[in-house]
Amino acid sequence: MEHATTLEQTEDVYEPSLTPDSLGKLGMWIFLVGDTMSFGALLAAYAAVRAGAGVIGWAPPDEILGINLTAFMTFLLICSSVTMVKALEAIQNGNVSRMCTFLGLTIAGGVIFLGLQVYEWNALIKHGLTLTEIPHHGLSGAAISGSTLFGPAFYTITGFHGLHVTGGVIYLIVILIHGLRGRYTAEFNHEVEIVGLYWHFVDLIWIMVFTFIYLL
């Protein structure tokens, strides 16, 4: 009896062992924590480069980038996060077809986001924002000048995020194919939850990128 009591006490003190479900989730969280450091380092470097531009100055981002399109891109990613949680909710309730529909909508959101990013980059390059130069005139037509590090900083950070979105879209397509083949049920769906964690993280990072690069 004494032994049994000790075991019960031990279970209270220590967390339960990792199951395949929780192991996968923990693995994704650890990856996301590491990725947060990558984005954090990029944004800290951006802050240092911008603050250290000195007498050369930093061109106003709203004059070069504009915020209407990116505000819409932010809205799009928020919508795709909602469809992602709806997909998880559907499969946890055992509704496979509803899960596939919402996963498809999430993928569509990601693809449109990437398409808009390609369009934006193309327009910016044509406008004169390259890795070595900034445009001579802003969107309002006013003359602008500033550090030529604007371009590298912008393309590195938004490009790194774009790569994450691309990875997320591929990851979601794989999960959708598994879903269509009937892999997921109300009892077995942790893989959908894990891809959701990744996708929401991509959304969360864009919220930060949008603020630091476009709005500030």
């Binding site: 969280w29 949680v85 969360l204 919220i207 630091f212």
Partner: protein
């Protein structure tokens, strides 16, 4: 067992409306010209609010173990620390500006890069 199939979910559409509303406020705060420091504080505050909503409700962090929240918050704190670690370098550059040539010469520096 049957109950476990139908998990309780937060009201995701409420979170969506909050995120949408905060994004609109962000854009409204960003457009007018006023003190940069105040604008930065407002925008970073709004962005952090949106990030917390996404992490807590969409990533279900609010419903996970507290230990996980501690693990997740750590890199954000390290990132803030990283910015402060870079401050001496930024300040050193600003001090050097005092001895740098006037802005006219700086423009010339840009021109020579073409």
């Amino acid at each position: 067992m049957a109950e476990t199939h139908h998990k309780e979910h937060p009201k995701y559409m409420n979170i969506f409306w909050w995120l949408l509303g905060l994004t609109i406020v962000e854009v409204a705060v960003a457009i007018p010209e006023y003190a940069t420091v105040l604008k930065a504080i407002l925008l970073i505050g709004l962005a952090c609010g949106k990030a917390i909503l996404v992490a807590n409700y969409f990533m279900h962090l609010k419903f996970e173990r507290k230990t996980l929240a501690v693990i997740v918050i750590t890199p954000f704190l390290i990132c803030v620390f990283l910015v402060f670690m870079l401050m001496p370098d930024i300040m050193a550059e600003k001090r050097l500006e005092k001895f740098a040539p006037q802005s006219g010469t700086a423009t010339k520096v840009i021109d020579t890069s073409h």
